[in-house]
Amino acid sequence: MRNNGASRRDFLAQALTGAGAAWLTAAWPEILAAQQHAHHMAHSVAAGAPAKLEYFTPAQATEVEAITAAIIPTTETPGAREAGVVYFIDRGLSTFATDQQKPIAAALDAVAAKRKELFPASADFASLTAAQQIDVLKAIEKTQEFGILRFSTVAGFLCNPEDGGNRDRVGWKLVAFDGAATHTPPFGYYDAEYLKEHGPARAGHRPAAPAKGAKP
């Protein structure tokens, strides 16, 4: 599955078809309920309590976590596992995305079927070697089933932590998104260079307040 460089307008359309549609859903009350749940969970995690599964069995959760960790692996930086993506998916399926229970179950079945086909002696996805895991997912990467798993993983990795994934902002830290509530210019390298070259007026910066004690 490769990005085919669709137009910006189609970005939005894509969000609503194929894999993206998986999580499109819900009315406000459900989202709010999910938010409260996440809040609660975030607090539990902060307090050192183990995050609770609401939907998956522990065995299912182990499989899902292994799949998400193959999609966004742990390298020298944290991946889907450290971001708690499995908890994001678990929470989604028990709150705002209950209509995705069947598609996710079908996706897990598709992974299991391909695993058995390629590695008949294996017991589960989680116990495959990393290379074997990649082989399994590569074999189904063009399917809708994989698309749902990939979408859910990326969403759980880069969502706002209040949604139950992206723990400790590990996803945001990876891509260097600061998540700050406000910013001040200059914002990036090239506008900082522009400011140096052309000065604050042309850069649209507010005139700097005169330093204390400076003569007018």
Binding site: L24, I134, L158, H183, F187
Partner: protein, 564 residues
């Protein structure tokens, strides 16, 4: 809000009922209530406030927190009238008080003189219904100025040599430049073009009791949590409510404009929050529900007098839909741009606004540079074409390039084509049992050529910006619209237009339409500024008719406290 909002009973006959509270509905509500009239605004979405706008990409973009939800209000789509339409999302608009002006990007340049007279100047491209507007730029100029000063627009007068004449400078200076703007300016100057600071309907400083932009970055697609974005919600509706004569009634989904036996509109039937039918009586009905929903509501409002839909004697209701065509050229850089900070666009190029006829097609457009994706959108759709979409290499790519990507957005004309339309789907219903909006759309060949022309030049320009990589997205036919224009066009001839130059329908004397549906041509993208200028002008025209007694007996409250 210091004052409780005035409430009317459904049986109270108010002066005006307005369907839609967005860019035009909000302005009309303000202008008419300030002038002393009693107004009810029916808005299908919720009444959200600044504190309700979350910094949450997943909720807003993927769960339609602020927009129409295709699960409850499906669309269908087809390219030609011969096909059966398939269910697919085809339209997007803000569904809340303030409408799309809440979540828009806020690019606010004016249309140019050519946009109003291009048919006379360029002739009739084949397969189009190209026409001049019944008004000119000069007619609209005072209202463009009014928009800038009333709602708050940041910009620099005289910065673009292509700008049409203006009577007053901008009330606020341009917003701070971003890396995308700095790069576009550098590249464009090398090409001999004339980049200029983008006019943006976001406050660069505090203005009229509203806060200036804090550069949070949750901007395009989001509601502004400090009220710096000059939406109707922030910049018009509070003034309307303050008059004590305007009720904004949220969660009110209009489905029928009713007539009496003489063909006079009596009010609007709608579903309330409990999906119960209600009716609001009014002396005058104004539809400002956007270019899709205004047309759809007219088509839903069938009667023995108007079997093909209300005010549709021309057969033009829903037709000539224009989306604005678009082309994209993306680049990646050595150093971080951090485009996720602040509002979206800071420099614009209008050197190609009016293309010379020698190019062999009719059209024109502008360019800006931006990256309007937050982390999740980037990681799903912002990748360069050749990288894997999962695994270690994918992870390394998003780590490196989320902050280093921007693209040139070429925004261009759509020519009006009669068969491009909003109609009622014969089979698909929404959750209220109303026929779904069916979109029929195929870009005119000239529109695609215009986009390609602009994109080719953008690709060359990017070489001068020091990009380390660049790529052009394929230009394809649109299947999805956010600019919803032309579906009840204005004109002097009742056979080929739906409203006259006063936004009054040719067929029903006390029914007015004012939003993107009124457009005769598409402009070069960024239609909301012109929608609001039309709304300020329509309010003046309507008030003049009311004063002359042409809209029936109306008694405006005297000594309007907030005359503007």
């Amino acid at each position: 809000m210091s004052q409780a909002m005035r409430k009317f009973g459904p049986a109270d006959e108010v002066d005006f009922v307005i369907v839609g509270s967005g860019a035009s509905g909000g302005v009309l509500a303000k202008q008419l209530s300030v002038a002393g009239f009693r107004v009810v605004v029916l808005e299908q979405g919720p009444f959200l406030h600044e504190e309700d706008f979350p910094h949450n990409e997943f909720k807003v973009v993927f769960q339609n927190a602020l927009t129409n939800n295709w699960k409850t209000q499906p669309n269908t789509f087809r390219k030609t009238e011969q096909e059966k339409a398939k269910a697919q999302p085809a339209l997007l608009y803000g569904r809340m008080v303030g409408g799309s002006s809440v979540h828009f990007t806020a690019n606010y340049w004016r249309f140019h003189e050519i946009d109003f007279i291009e048919r006379s100047k360029r002739g009739l491209p084949s397969g189009t219904t190209f026409a001049d507007w019944p008004i000119t730029y000069a007619d609209l100029e005072p209202y463009y100025t009014k928009v800038e000063w009333e709602v708050g627009v940041s910009g620099q007068a005289g910065a673009s040599p292509f700008d049409p004449p203006r009577s007053k400078p901008y009330p606020l200076p341009p917003l701070p430049i971003k890396s995308s703007g700095a790069l576009l300016e550098k590249g464009a100057l090398k090409m001999g073009w004339h980049p200029y600071p983008a006019p943006i309907a976001i406050l660069s400083r505090n203005y009229r009791g509203r806060a200036g932009c804090v550069h949070c970055g949750y901007c395009e697609g989001y509601g502004c949590e400090v009220g710096a974005k000059s939406s109707s919600l922030a910049a018009a509706i509070p003034d309307a409510i303050r008059t004590g004569r305007c009720e904004i009634r949220p969660l009110s989904y209009a489905f029928d404009v009713r007539l009496d036996a003489s063909g006079h509109a009596t009010g609007v039937a709608y579903f309330d929050a409990a999906k119960k039918e209600q009716f609001q009586k009014a002396k005058v009905v104004i539809l400002a529900a956007n270019g899709a929903e205004t047309a759809r509501l007219l088509l839903l409002s069938k009667s023995s007098l108007f079997p093909e839909g209300l005010a549709n004697s021309s057969g033009y209701v829903g037709r000539n839909l224009m989306f604005n065509s678009a082309g994209i050229a993306t680049a990646q850089y050595e150093h971080p741009l951090n485009e996720y900070k602040s509002q979206i666009v800071t420099r614009v190029v209008h050197d190609f606004y009016e293309l010379d006829p020698s190019v062999g097609f009719c059209g024109g457009g502008g360019m800006d540079m931006r990256f309007d994706q937050l982390p999740l959108g980037y990681a799903l759709w912002g990748l360069r074409p050749e990288v894997p979409t999962w695994g270690a290499e994918y992870k390394a790519e998003i780590q490196e390039n989320f902050t280093r990507t921007a693209y040139v957005f070429c925004h261009a004309t759509s020519l009006p084509v009669e068969t491009n339309s909003i109609s009622l789907d014969p089979d698909t219903k929404d959750d209220w049992g109303l026929s779904a909006a069916r979109v029929t759309y195929k870009d005119h060949p000239d529109d695609l050529k215009t986009c390609k022309y602009l994109q080719d030049r953008a690709m060359i320009m990017l070489d001068g910006t020091g990009a380390r990589r660049k790529w052009a997205s394929p230009i394809g036919e649109s299947e999805f619209g956010v600019h919803l224009l032309g579906t009840c066009r204005m004109g002097n001839d009742p056979k080929t237009s739906v409203v006259n130059a006063d936004h009054r329908t040719h067929d029903v004397a006390n029914l007015f339409l004012c939003d993107g549906s009124s457009f005769v041509t598409s402009g070069r993208g960024q239609p909301t500024m012109t929608i609001q200028a039309l709304a300020f002008r329509a309010a003046d025209r309507i008030l003049r008719l009311a004063k002359r007694g042409e809209l029936g007996k109306m008694a405006p409250a005297t000594a309007a406290a907030h005359r503007s």
